[in-house]
Assembly symmetry: C2
């Protein structure tokens, strides 16, 4: 399989990414080829260290400051657009990118077919909770969503968790209270639709509204939310986790061992990046401020998704759910 | 001063509240009188243990399940409505309630004058961040807000922090990215308005958009958000904090001492409850699932707000800001 990695357009210097990825490539199984996208100067006087690493120089870079739609129109030969195009053409089986989120989503939406009945792709990430992991979506692909979009997010989350072996995923709506009439009109409508669907479905179980406080108690496998709220949810969880762990480290230098264990478990959420769910292609989006280690984890996750034929599984599950 | 305490309508049994409050009242200074609202049966065969504790039996209770507007119309003699009415009549200087949030806000809005130029009250709470505390509002009084409401929330947060001795509060908007054009149209408009205001103001400094991840780094004294997002923000922070601390306790039973220190610092946010800002009266709202200890802390906070003449300070600050 070929996995594309965009070394450009994130907050980290491309040469640091490159160094880390080249180091990592030494331990890669022969079946995995890495296609690295970078500027010609980045690869200058370097040779791929192994046969399963390919350098693909590109002339253009989409930056974090670029307006997404203008950028993908004007910079068709950027690393980001080239990666998505290679995915479409079957030259890549997965694409990992830590660049401009808006541009990545816009490009994927334009170039890749959508997975019926999904109208809008969503960013889906796994977050730890008590004794399990929950798929949270959308964590930032859209700013506002209709009730139908929220229901479609639920379908993708269900399909993903079923593909991970969770046979009867428990689905919840992120809301400000548990009562059916809480929250925005969109949430109220999505609540009623999911309730109705779950009554005639053996593929999932709708547990209703979930508050931010209860989300981490392990009561849901799929947490559905609009992209704005989901993004705040994800980043707030990361922010408070960092605050607590930093404070603990100051209070108790002896506890470093335990703390790094907890950090590793919590940062599980960060490592694999978010999956852009709803398009016919495996696209992983990492944070712009990603560490090289996290990018490596995203590559590993991408390889696992390809190996387990994630896309076919999602398509099957989505058909069953209709 | 007289502080009213609603013992009814929360998730905790009223007799547990009563027991805790009576125990606490033994250490109260003579200048603070507690007026406790409960059912006649709750007070049966009990006598107030001290002169500065008064039992006020009421016949009606607003429950968590009651629809707010219908409840305050039909249950005018409930503990919640009586407390707010006593506040209006000057028989109380502050009112602490852990009951139905919607009913409390609706009742306060109807009975108490608003503080010009505030059109909608907001729930404001203090959350810990690196080396300071930030006032976050709205954390749940409203579901959606206009740009003007968001600007008014900022004014209340600024006034509150200035009354706490922060002379030049740094104000941020909770958003999904730092760029001015991120988020909903309401946020974009509020961004421009606050930027313009801050340029001609010596009372505050607008630092722009803040992501959930950065909110805890101590970069803002006032974090402005709509009631839906703010509520998710608050509860998510609590949820992940509880998850981490529980995990740490399991991993390392020896660390109990440090963990309870951290817990105490983090739960600072929970203890005083949220202030209902924007009405002419001191109303504190605790969580429905509040612990008796948190309710006690809310009473202490209410007493401090009265002692420091919080309402006059807020009024002065709001006038200066106009």
């Amino acid at each position: 399989m070929n996995i594309g990695v965009d070394l450009l357009g994130s907050d980290l210097p491309p040469h640091e990414f490159l160094k880390e990825v080249l180091g990592f490539s030494r331990d890669l199984p022969e079946t995995i080829n890495l296609v690295l996208f970078g500027t010609p100067s980045l690869f200058e006087s370097l040779h791929p260290p192994r046969l399963n690493v390919v350098f693909h120089p590109v002339e253009e870079v989409i930056t974090m400051e670029d307006a997404p739609l203008a950028a993908i129109r004007k910079k068709r030969n950027s690393s980001l657009c080239t990666g998505i195009r290679f995915l479409k053409e079957g030259r890549l089986q997965a694409f990992v990118c830590a660049g401009n989120t808006g541009a990545l989503i816009a490009c994927a939406k334009i170039e890749l077919p959508s997975l019926p009945p999904i109208e809008r792709p969503a960013l889906m990430t796994l977050l730890p909770s008590k004794e399990s992991e929950m798929a949270v979506l959308d964590v930032g692909a859209n700013t506002t969503n209709s009730a139908d979009h929220l229901v479609q997010f639920a379908l993708m989350g269900i399909a993903y968790q079923r593909s991970r072996g969770v046979l009867l995923p428990r689905v919840g709506l992120l809301n400000i209270g548990s009562e059916a009439k809480k929250g925005t009109p969109e949430l109220q409508e999505a609540y009623n639709k999911l309730l109705l669907m779950s009554e005639s479905s053996s593929s999932f179980c709708f547990v209703g509204n979930i508050e931010g406080r209860d989300a981490f108690l392990g009561r849901v496998d799929v947490l559905v939310t609009d992209g704005f709220t989901g993004n705040v949810f994800l980043k707030t969880a990361e922010g408070i986790a960092a605050l607590i762990l930093d404070e603990l480290e100051e209070c108790s230098p002896d506890a470093k061992g335990i703390l790094s264990e907890i950090r590793a478990r919590l940062h599980y959420a960060e490592h694999p990046g978010a999956i852009l769910a709803g398009v016919d292609g495996i696209v992983l989006k990492c944070h712009g401020s990603v560490s090289p280690q996290s990018l490596i984890r995203s590559i590993t996750t991408a390889a696992r998704l390809v190996q387990h034929d994630f896309l076919s599984q999602i398509k099957t599950e989505l058909t069953l759910l209709q």
